[in-house]
Symmetry: C2
Subunit: 186 residues, 2 copies
Amino acid sequence: MNETMKTILNRRSFRAYKPEQIKDQELQTILEAGKFAPSGMNTQPWHFSVIQNKDVLNKINGIVKEGLLKSGNPQMAGRAKDENFSIFYHAPTLIIVSADPKVPTPQFDSAIALSYMFLAAASLDIGSCWIQAISVAFNSESAKPMLKELAIPEGYTIYSAGAFGYPAVEAPAPAPRKEGTVSFIK
Amino acid sequence: MNETMKTILNRRSFRAYKPEQIKDQELQTILEAGKFAPSGMNTQPWHFSVIQNKDVLNKINGIVKEGLLKSGNPQMAGRAKDENFSIFYHAPTLIIVSADPKVPTPQFDSAIALSYMFLAAASLDIGSCWIQAISVAFNSESAKPMLKELAIPEGYTIYSAGAFGYPAVEAPAPAPRKEGTVSFIK
């Protein structure tokens, strides 16, 4: 099996990170992967906000926490009540992917860019996890004042976000794959 | 640079393919990558319809062609008028990704699965291209009777499709990357 396939099959989502920051060169490699993702009509409609400042990370976490507590979802609210709650599992780096919603396929473009960054991270033994709750919380009216602080370009929508850091745990086993997801028409 | 990064940075979209079919083992590797893509809440909401039958490929192309001719978009209609028109550039394999629209993030999940398959293909020197026009054409009312023939599960939506085959041309140079797509908040 080639190295790319090994990375693809072995990349897992991590939910515990070491506090140590990832190296700048590793971060640059991860971002390079995101920039080289394909995009519909080559619009490259994305913006990557790399957040490593602890105060800003805490602020983001606070806003998500508040949103979850008010969500009416008992499971989410229960999780958010935990004193040690961190929506990004205390990862030292968060990358928020926003994009111009007026291009043909902003969801696809953002998702692929983030998945490219996840694979690049995995190839460097850096863990990652998709943090969907951030886009939910930050596309709400109450979070708008913070968008500038997160360097989200005017008019862009936050589509996805990922946590990055050195894993503090072993890679979990892959979840079993669903059966019957392929049909051949030969 | 590690092999995964090389695959990520060097994968291009191909728009000309050899008629020769890809090997079954290569196809299996590509599908394995798609199945191992991450998905929101691990729903794995996708279905992969692998189409290699020439009659079915021609039928798909005919439906897309008809849609483009009627689209009112002069550029698209002009392209579709070409006698040699092929929406998937005469690639011998087409993979249509449909998914359950009721999961939280079907667009993201489908896009990432397809991008994983593109990277797997690139790691095997197989070319690929995202064919967005297929989801547009096949989610319309007039194409519904054909969904069963394409093995799209009842109630699923087609989100994306990709052409796969051995490239008939050299890899094109990468399009220049946009400047200013990253902000650091350290």
